[in-house]
């Protein structure tokens, strides 16, 4: 591809192989990866979890710890072989010639050092500087990554900065020594879309300004598309497809790339099944128990309503602080209004999407709707009856509102067989008899596309997608009418995400469910929901039919949010 002048590429990776020697045998995390990168070029490395994209990044700069080992191949940086280089020499390259930005800056920044001290240490790793000079350069570095008031920020500790600011600090540290190459491992994954958009834009400018080459590792095709000129798609340790970003994304050659693109809800018509074709349809869910008593709805009451609900989180003072406050020695801490007088009506059968960025109060509102948190004020009613009791120890009163949680690794009891977990709720509420429980569980497992024999297994024996199916079966086995889904696909890979979205759409239609679907991912909400409510700082700022809100946003915040979402190039066909 390169013409005569730029003869040697900046980075040349040939047949790189990294293996992990584990108890279960040798795992080839990176299996013969080859690519090259020119000066100032941005390459995206895309893949799902376990594809080996991060390990590829770590292998390049020699950060593979035992039991892992770079087993073969070569990594040449400006013609110099890095594989097999002594640790000391690799260290002298890291931060100076190649540097790295990680996903979670809270993990990579030292919590007990100020930003300025950390930058000084990073400078001193390769140069000797005076304290005043280090400070001057720290401030300049922070200014370069567009941190406001860098003279003040330099004395902050990491916890005093927001996620986006922390990631900017990490980028500033990576840029300190003007490296030739920066490897970014999912640098915006933990951030909100609007912050992600800012960082992407800044990163593009910085790279152009400094002529640094960039390897951008991400699971998100759209983010990669908005920054990288070249992209390589990884799967099971191999690069399955590589080329100019536009070509790969608009004319994918490999079946896997096509499947990845088809799995994206943003590329399908709302309400359509994703990843069309293939697969046997799952069994129908078991019938409701007709004998289960269902209270008759209160006449003329809306189906589901949250009536001016608020949630205030207060830190309860301990005895000493409480005394201090009474005596006026200590200021009481300000209460946080997570949700501030929000009203919401959901008619029967509707799917309402609740979108917003972190801290907007969408999860808190969802938890009040689901009867997990009692509102500080206001009530939540289902068919005219309160979902939770009043009093100092509120209890949930209905089984007809159920929840599916975000993280299927956390929401299943690790020490309970999944069959027991699915059966215990229906048994406790008489929805199924003791003798019928085993069959009921098997029917539900079949209905969510799992082998009924899995009932005997423990959660750790399942993958993330399978666990989320179990969590869905557990919630739906309670025979609810309304299901609150709190980011149910946020922690899953795109292809798994597509399967779970399909499953939710199918079960919603088959069971006539009403959904409250909480997500930070606007495309997922558009795909699944009839109506959307946008939350911002504890309030709903805009609400309406999904199509209208997306195509013609009224509120300023909604517009900004929609503009921040990275968009894939449209297929030319």
């Amino acid at each position: 591809m390169s013409t005569g002048a730029a003869a040697t590429p900046l980075l040349e990776v040939v047949d790189l192989t990294t293996q992990f020697f584990t108890r279960a045998g040798v795992v080839k995390a990176v299996d013969g990866v080859s690519f090259s990168l020119r000066r100032g070029e941005v390459m995206g490395l895309v893949g799902e979890s376990g594809s080996g994209k991060s390990v590829t990044g770590f292998s390049i700069i020699g950060l593979i710890d035992p039991p892992g080992r770079v087993a073969g191949g070569s990594v040449k940086l400006e013609g110099r072989e890095l594989v097999g280089l002594p640790a000391e020499e690799l260290r002298s390259l890291r931060g100076r010639v190649v540097s790295m930005v990680f996903q979670d800056p809270l993990m990579t920044l030292n919590p007990v050092l100020t930003i300025g001290e950390q930058i000084r240490l990073a400078i001193e790793a390769h140069e000797t500087v005076s304290a005043a000079e280090a400070r001057r350069r720290a401030i300049a570095g922070l200014a370069q990554v567009r941190i406001p008031r860098p003279e003040a920020t330099v004395d902050f500790y990491p916890h005093q900065l927001s996620g986006g600011m922390r990631q900017r600090v990490a980028i500033a540290i990576a840029l300190l020594h003007r490296p030739k190459l920066i490897i970014c491992d999912e640098p915006t994954t933990a951030l909100d879309v609007s912050i992600q958009a800012e960082i992407l834009a800044e990163m593009k400018e910085l790279v152009a300004e400094l002529g640094t080459a960039l390897i951008w590792i991400s699971h998100d095709l759209a983010t990669v598309a908005s920054i990288a000129q070249h992209v390589a798609v990884m799967r099971l340790g191999k690069i399955v497809e590589a080329g100019p970003t536009l070509d790969v994304l608009t004319r994918p050659q490999h079946a896997y790339t096509r499947a990845l693109l088809d799995a994206l809800p943003s590329r399908a018509k709302p309400g359509e099944l994703l990843l069309r074709g293939g697969g046997v349809p799952d069994a129908a869910p078991p019938a409701r128990n007709p004998a289960a008593t269902v209270a008759t709805p209160v006449l003329n009451a809306p189906y589901f309503v949250a009536d001016r609900v608020s949630k205030r989180f207060e830190t309860r003072p301990n005895a000493l602080r409480g005394l201090g406050q009474k005596l006026g020695l200590v200021q009481p801490p300000a209460a946080v209004m997570a949700v501030d007088e929000v009203s919401l009506v959901v008619p029967r059968g509707e799917a309402l999407g609740l979108v917003g960025e972190s801290g907007s109060g969408k999860s808190t509102l969802g938890r009040m709707a689901a009867g997990i948190y009692a509102p500080s004020s206001g009530t939540v009613r289902f068919e005219g009856r309160p979902v939770m009791s009043d009093g100092p120890e509120p209890k949930k009163l209905t089984t007809r509102v159920q929840t599916i949680f975000q993280d299927p690794f956390a929401s299943l009891n690790p020490r309970m067989r999944i069959g027991e977990g699915i059966a215990e709720g229906p048994l406790a509420h008489g929805l199924v008899s003791k003798t019928g429980a085993a069959t009921y569980v098997r029917d539900w497992l079949a209905a969510v596309g799992l082998d009924p024999a899995f009932a005997e297994r423990y959660p750790h024996q399942f993958s993330g997608g399978q666990r989320q199916r179990v969590a869905i079966a557990r919630a739906l086995a309670m025979q609810p009418d309304l299901v609150v889904c709190d980011e149910p696909v946020a922690s899953l890979d795109v292809s798994i995400q597509a399967q779970i979205i399909n499953l939710l759409m199918r079960l919603r239609a088959e069971l006539g469910l009403t959904l409250i679907f909480i997500s930070h991912d606007l495309s997922v909400v558009r795909h699944l929901c009839d109506r959307v409510a946008v939350m911002y700082r504890g309030r709903i700022v805009e609400e309406g039919p999904a199509g209208e809100v997306y195509d013609n946003p009224q509120h300023d915040y909604t517009r900004r949010l929609l503009a921040a979402v990275p968009v894939l190039p449209e297929a030319a066909a």
């Binding site: 159920q402 929840t403 929401s411 009891n413 690790p414 020490r415 309970m416 709720g425 750790h460 399942f462």
Partner: protein, 292 residues
């Protein structure tokens, strides 16, 4: 996908530490000989008819008037020390295990109840426990055995009073962490009855740290019991535990008849060190921070 059960996985990791396996073998052996004491001990040390005063204070290897060798010597009453140690081990283990089990039940109930209830009730329970932890366990046990008098039940009460607080603290910490996890919220939002959430969800997930505390506390209970018996406020002389045996021989130490105290002491040390080594290994295994 791993098909092995959690217990099989636990055992395969446990096996990797030779020291721990050796310690476990020692613990199992000592429990075994303690259980079988009436069958394997050469002499019934409680049967006064068996004791011959002319055999008293004989060194190890002495062939007594009954015709068998006293491998560890005899004490001041002419009791075969090996038999006395086997029977003493039986009592010491019994005290440690029973006191540990009762302390476990009381402490875990209080700790989990406090974590589950929250608010003022949690504060009250935990402050009482903190207050109690401020006193040395030995002081507390001394006061209680002095008040209640001698006897097995009284001694167990003293041991439990000195130890339940450790279980309560650990259970409270573990349960507070589990209480906030999604799967407990999921169970509560089903809704499941509180009893079921505690028994089937919170308690099983609190067990790993509690098992570690339990092993260490059984060892501590045995040591505490020995201390109390040594000080004369533990078990009556008719039921000598290892602690009483050490106390019995103590007065002969300086006259060169070391075996009367030393051998029961060695048995005690061996038992406590072995239990602690097993406990250490379990702690390392259940501590996710040390996971490779």
């Amino acid at each position: 996908m791993r098909r092995e059960t959690p217990i099989a996985r636990f055992w395969s990791e446990f096996r990797e530490s030779r020291v721990a396996v050796a310690a476990l073998v020692v613990v199992v052996l000592m429990i075994g000989v303690a259980l079988l004491a009436p069958l394997i001990a050469p002499q019934n040390p409680y049967d006064l008819a068996n004791l011959v005063l002319s055999d008293a204070r004989r060194p190890p290897g002495y062939v007594g008037s009954s015709g068998y060798t006293h491998w560890l010597g005899t004490d001041a009453q002419g009791r075969d020390l090996l038999s006395a140690i086997l029977y003493g081990l039986r009592i010491s283990l019994q005290m440690g295990l029973v006191a540990g089990a009762i302390a476990f039940a009381i402490g875990v109930t209080l700790g989990i109840a406090a974590a589950y209830l929250g608010g003022r009730r949690e504060a009250f329970i935990m402050r009482v426990i903190d207050l109690q932890l401020a006193f040395p366990a030995i002081l507390l046990a001394l006061v209680i055995s002095a008040l209640l008098g001698q006897g097995k039940a009284q001694l167990i009460a003293a041991l439990v009073a000195a130890q339940y607080a450790y279980f309560a603290r650990t259970a409270h910490g573990a349960a507070s962490a589990e209480r906030g996890k999604d799967y407990v919220e999921a169970a509560l939002s089903t809704p499941l009855p509180a009893r079921q959430v505690i028994w089937r969800h919170i308690l099983p997930n609190c067990l790993p740290p509690l098992i570690v505390v339990a092993t260490v506390q059984v060892a501590n209970a045995i040591a505490l019991e020995a201390t109390l018996s040594f000080l004369g406020v533990g078990l009556p002389v008719t039921e000598p535990s290892l602690g009483s045996l050490i106390a019995n021989g103590f007065q002969y130490m300086l006259s060169g008849r070391y075996w009367i105290s030393i051998y029961p002491g060695l048995a005690l040390i061996l038992l406590i060190v072995a239990i602690n080594l097993v406990g250490d290994q379990i702690r390392d295994q259940v501590n996710p921070r040390l996971k490779r």
